[in-house]
Structure formats: C-alpha cells, structure tokens
C-alpha cells in the first residue's frame, strides 16, 4: 500500500504488511496492528482467540486520532460524482440457453468445468489452451480449483457503475416532446456504454478501446407524455470486434448485442425516475486469453447480459449516500 499517510503507515509500518496490487489481497489484523492471517478465516479466528483477553476485549485498544490523510489518493480511490450526476448501477452476467432456447443462468458445466466443453475448446484453440495447460495436462486438483472458481466467480452478476454528467443525461430529455418522436443517443454516450459496459473482454490497459466498436446505435423514442412525465423507450444494437461468422473463421473474439431500455422523466422534479436498460447478446471466441480467462470461454455463441438501473436519488441536486462501495 503506497499511501504516504496515516493509513499507509499503519499497514506498512505497524502491521508490517506489503499488500499486493491489482490481484488483490485479503488480510485480517487487530485494531492494534497484529496480523492474524488471510483468507482462511478459521485460522484467523483461532489466532484471534489465542490473544490475551486484555487485547481482545472491547475498549482494550486505544486507536487515537485519525492522522494525516492523503486526500488526493482517497479522492482517486473513492471519487465523488459531480453535483447532478445520474448514477446507474450495472450488472453483467454470463448466461446460457435452456433447451427451449430461453435464457438461463450458467453452471460450471457450461465452461471448461465440463470435459466435453473443454475438449471442444482445446480442439478449436489448441495453442491457447496448451499455453495455459487447460488442455488436460493440468493436475486434476488444479482443474477442480478452477472449476470451483468458475462456480464462485463468473456464474454470478458482476457489478459496476456508470455515471452520466448532468449535461449528458439532460441531453436525453427532448425539449418539446411529441409522442412518436425519435432521436439518437449522443455518439459519445453510446460509445461509452458499448466500450466500457458491454464488453466482457475488457482488458486492463487495452491500448485502443475505440477500435473494438465495429457498428452500433442507440435511439430514443417518445412513447408517452403526460402533464407530469415523459416516457422514453431506448432501442439499439452493437457489434464489437468481429461478427460471429468472421470469428468462426479467424479465431478472433467479438460480441453482438441488442439493447432495450425504458426511461421515465419527471417534468416537475426535472429528473429521471426510471432509467432501466437491458443489453442481451452473444460473445464468441476466446475471452481475454492474455489474462488467463480461458476458463470463461465457451464454444460457439455465449449469451451475455448487462442490466443498467438508476440509483435512486441520483441525477438531482445531491449524491445518494452509500451508493459506492458500501454494499449498495
């Protein structure tokens, strides 16, 4: 932890810890700075219970004043949205198809956790799978560990947020709406949705994110108007990287998605009260091979869904408390 402030000093100097970077770390400590352990919480609890009660009982440790804080680092880590920002909570999720063709949740068997799926992928991409030893040469216990990782990590919805500045969300409100009016979502906003929120292949530090969008559009239609509100429907599509046929021939990856949304604008409050978007599509090809994400790759078309919802209270004069990082 490279913060040069009281928080960093506690971690480095008191706990004698050097937390890892992008990969993340879990560590358990006492309020006084004794390290108890990591992810094995049973061992952490045992270490905690071995401490004298004089160190464990409530009030035993006096923490003192907060100390100097590097506010620039804090602001970068937990940025505060500008006043009037509209905040969308997003979830992205790998999906599967039931026998009838309906969308369903995935299971580990949809991925390399199933021997048949792994065999198909190894046959389609022998070099990539051999490089990561997912071609059957991994020890069985390691493969089982990866299967559990699939079940635990990528079967569930992946959360994120999207901020729209006041100017951006106001650009979606037609000045003199009439039922049936249609207009395009501004290109910059459309691109941001596609590039940052639709792509399960989003890589850390990918050099040219703009290049991944092959085509696409988002349009709004005024569905209904009342004295108090305007209801808008969003429709659109996106093609990222290459289409499915090209991917099958070249081994590249890509994604095709359709987007639908329902937005309600309150004319009296002058804010959106509903901003729901769903993107449903297929990904295909290898997922982030450079980051060891072959375990997420599936043969053929892999259904993928992204949901956007308004964080209640945003898009007005204040920012909703607790929306970011405190479990909401």
């Amino acid at each position: 932890m490279n913060r040069q402030d009281a928080e960093g000093e506690f971690i480095r100097d008191t706990c004698k810890l050097k937390l890892s970077g992008a990969g993340g770390e879990i560590v358990c400590v006492t309020a006084s700075g004794k390290v108890l352990g990591g992810k094995d919480l049973q061992k952490v609890l045992e270490a905690w219970n071995k401490l004298p009660e004089s160190e464990r009982k409530p009030g035993a440790v006096q923490v003192g004043e907060r100390g100097k804080i590097d506010t620039a680092k804090v602001d970068r880590a937990y940025p505060t949205p500008p006043p009037g920002t509209l905040i969308l909570k997003t979830h992205a999720r790998f999906l599967g198809r039931a026998n009838e063709g309906h969308l369903r949740h995935v299971t580990p068997k949809d991925f390399i956790g199933d021997d048949k799926v792994r065999a198909q992928m190894v046959a389609a991409y022998p070099a990539a799978f051999a490089r990561e030893r997912l071609d059957g040469t991994l020890p069985k216990d390691v493969l089982e560990h990866k299967r559990r990782g699939i079940a635990e990590r990528i079967s569930e919805a992946q959360p994120d947020f999207m901020w729209l500045t006041e100017a951006e969300w106001k650009s979606l409100v037609p000045a003199n709406p009439k039922k049936g009016d249609q207009f395009a979502v501004p290109a910059a906003l459309t691109k941001r949705i596609f590039v940052l929120h639709l792509d399960p292949n989003r890589l850390v530090g990918e050099p040219d994110r703009n290049a991944i969008v092959r085509s696409g559009e988002l349009n709004l239609t005024v569905e209904d108007i009342s004295p108090t509100s305007v209801r808008l429907r969003l429709d659109g599509s996106a093609l990222l990287r290459v289409d499915f046929e090209t991917a099958q021939k070249t081994g590249q990856e890509g994604e095709e998605a359709r987007l639908v949304g329902f937005l309600n604008y309150d004319l009296q409050k002058k804010s959106f009260t509903r901003f729901d978007i769903v993107a449903i599509g297929d990904t295909y090809g290898l997922l982030s091979p450079g980051l060891g994400h072959l375990t997420y790759s599936r043969p053929g078309r892999s259904p993928y869904g992204v949901a956007f919802e308004l964080v209640s209270g945003s898009g007005g004069t204040s920012t909703p408390e607790g929306y970011f990082g405190t479990g909401k």
């Binding site: 992008a22 993340g24 879990i26 923490v63 970068r76 880590a77 369903r104 359709r258 729901d276 479990g327």
Partner: protein, 88 residues
C-alpha cells in the same frame, strides 16, 4: 469548435460501420414483460453476491476505531494497487 466536435461525433459510427451492420428488428425487441424478466435474470439472485451486503468501511482508521470499540478483528480487502474501490 463545437460544430467540429459534433461533426466528428456524428461521423464516428459511419466510418466504423460495416455494410452488413445489425438492423433493429421489431420482432427482436423485448416486450415490457420480457424486459422485466430479463432484468431480473441478470441482476444478483437471492443468496448471490453476499459480499455486497456487508457494511464495508472505506477507511482503515474507521475500521480500527470500530474494531477496538467492539473487541473484534478487522477484515481488510484490498485490490488494484491496494485501493479497494479505485481503478485497477
């Protein structure tokens, strides 16, 4: 300047589009009922993402104060350069 930016913005997809770009078909659009079901399918299901239900604190100092007052250990989860909620 503003006009130039708008021109670049409106041409961006035109330059990128392929001749066989996806067409929006009415039959493919989700109905309101299907939309609600699909939204619910994507979002966390009951019992999933339980880590989001934890009342995380964003300050080690605040965690120390609470842990000391309650007589409990501290669980620290860091990532992305040890900035839990920052960019990776």
């Amino acid at each position: 300047m503003a006009a130039t930016v708008a021109m670049i913005g409106s041409c961006w997809f035109t330059l990128q589009a392929r001749a066989d770009k996806l067409e929006a078909k009415a039959a493919d659009s989700l109905s309101a009922e299907q939309f609600a079901k699909t939204l619910a399918l994507i979002k966390p299901q009951p019992g999933e993402s339980k880590w989001t239900e934890i009342p995380w604190l964003l300050s080690v100092h605040d965690a120390r104060v609470k842990a000391a007052a309650e007589g409990k250990p501290i669980f620290i989860w860091s990532s992305g350069g040890a900035l839990p909620l920052g960019t990776c």
